[in-house]
Subunit: 344 residues, 2 copies
DNA sequence: TTGTACGCGTTATCAC
DNA sequence: GTGATAACGCGTACAA
């Protein structure tokens, strides 16, 4: 067979009459060689068509430069954009990413984590909600979570409270007769709960007429339409002729809400103001561009990896000082005023 | 330090008074041990809290079970859904995925491939368009591409011609006065070109009045709106009162087109029929659900990984027989009739 | 500045 | 059924 094995340091060493060590140094500490010898080796690499083998390097020095990621799905734009930005940090940090889709399956996610650990990942980023942070913390591995329960681990989250606060304030400034926040029943320990709190606080502060609608929207798109349609019918019965400021918990819902009104009235009636959350593409691409609270996904992703890198670097020191308390970073969202709130 | 190193086969061997070899066999060929001894080792694993190290295994047997993926971005829903489905094949095939975002940068993508090779990936899935398939083929590594130029490598693509054919036929059945296909100028060697060909062939077959509009739509959403708005103005001048069947090259464009009409007329005028391509969420979530050609992304993803696995398995045989010719699989799309084509 | 010798944790080969 | 030994390819004391 003409097919030779892969070229190794040994081959290069023989070819150049250096030792393996010198070849290794060429890669890891080139300044310790004379320029002349560097060139000799450089030429040999080309002649022999050498290709690095990082697996061997891992075994020797323990540094995989792998980060594991578990994301619930890539169907929701929020997750795929976040993953996009996380993966793109390769340019800055050089870490490679092993990615798993959790699909809401707790047992599967445990298996994925085990698999990731067996590949000696140096850190883990978790976006899925299934495994409690206490269990994650017990892995004693650098971990950062994003927008999920995070009591015992480091995290980066949007300032959801601020987002709810801004959205509600925008509606308030337009002197609505009644403010309404539509959301799903959720646990207080997830960051998104802050949206509800922000809404309630503004209403309390300014003593505004308001209503908080917490309703299970179901899984599919159809059930979402049904639920929101019911809500619209109730609102029109309850607040006829009143100017209604509606804050929906995300843009998908806001868009469905808008479309239902459009289908009913051919336009967005003057007595409705709408604002969503996330700045997902649908909010711009809706028939009437929807005001929304934009999460700064690029920044969240950067901070998450950055926070992880810090912990991983710390671990590589001779005498690592692990964090006493988990660090929770918070990123301010951005209010985006579009047409669904811009009439007087 | 109470912190011990990781437990290795050596530790287990000492603990159980077996040899390393036997421990290895316990994992790779358990039947070759007596049940009794299997239990002894099983117990030791628990006692010592052993955790596998697949990096060492890779070095020893060369099987990384890594597949590399380069995807252009995760901003377009098509790519993120595809990645979702590809990653989900872990459950069936057990391969782990190292993912990179190409971002249209050819040089970066070359670096990513080099990096992937250094981690001894066993196969590569390419969705990005920058690197010619000839260059990819030269890597002499199992490769599968999806929806891109694929002359020299294996691929899985949607049957774009069939898609264009179906879309055009649907419009034809509705007895439109004129059929219009809006697309961007593109090279004949990418699969998506088939959409244009399908359109033209149906029009020729049935001798239909038609127009092919190839126009650069620019990068941003705004420029897309502008371009399509111009197109609409031209169409209304050119075909006043005529029943127009419009086939757009993707759902994002179809949605913008629809919204422009909605904003102009408050509804979709009777003389417009619209159909898009991709079955992306926006087609369902549009103010009027848009007819579209659905790509069977789950099937494409499965076939891609499957095709890759075949090649990787072949390579592991003692006397591998590489493919003489690249294999090109084609997946039939599905016509989805929604409201934008369903009036008479 | 360069080389020697050994370790990283597992698998493969060949004995017994 | 089990064990000893040599790979796998690179990093790193330590020595020169």
């Amino acid at each position: 067979m003409g097919k030779k094995q892969n070229i190794t340091f040994n081959d290069i060493a023989k070819y150049t009459n250096f030792s393996k060590t010198t070849i290794s140094r060429y890669f890891n500490n080139p300044d310790s060689l004379t320029l002349e010898n560097q060139e000799i080796i450089a030429k040999a690499l080309v002649d022999l068509d050498y290709k690095e083998n990082k697996v061997a390097r891992i075994l020797a020095n323990g540094k995989t430069e792998f980060i594991g990621i578990i994301v619930p799905n890539l169907f929701l734009h929020y997750y795929s954009e976040m993953l996009d930005k996380i993966l793109s940090t390769y340019e800055q940090f050089g870490y490679k990413f092993l990615v798993f889709i959790g699909n809401q399956n707790e047992e599967n996610e445990r298996r994925y984590i085990k698999e990731l650990l067996s590949y000696k990942i140096e850190g883990l980023i978790i976006l899925s909600h299934t495994i409690p942070s206490k269990e994650l913390a017990a892995l004693s591995l650098p971990i950062v979570t994003i927008e999920r329960e995070d009591k015992y681990v480091c995290s980066v989250n949007t300032d959801n409270y601020m987002g709810g606060y801004q959205a509600t304030n925008l509606l308030a400034r337009h002197r609505c007769d009644v403010l309404i926040h539509i959301n799903s029943p959720s646990n207080e320990n997830i960051p998104a709960y802050g949206r509800i709190k922000g809404f309630m606080d503004v209403c309390a502060e300014k003593q505004l007429v308001h209503e908080l609608i917490l309703k299970e929207m179901g899984n599919g798109y159809e059930s979402l339409q049904e639920q929101l349609n019911q809500i619209i019918e109730n609102l029109e019965l309850k607040y006829p002729g009143k100017k209604k400021g509606i804050f929906l918990s995300n843009d998908t819902q806001a868009n469905v809400f808008l479309n239902l009104l459009m289908r009913k009235y051919g336009t967005l009636p003057k007595d409705y103001l709408l604002i969503g959350f996330d700045n997902s593409p649908i909010s711009r691409e809706a028939v009437i561009p929807i005001s929304t609270i934009g999460q700064q996904i690029d920044q969240i992703a950067y901070e998450a990896v950055s926070l992880l890198v810090e912990q991983m670097d710390e671990r590589k020191k001779r005498r690592p000082v692990p964090l006493k308390e988990p660090v929770h970073k918070v990123i301010t969202p951005i209010l985006l005023r579009r047409e669904t709130t811009e009439k007087i």
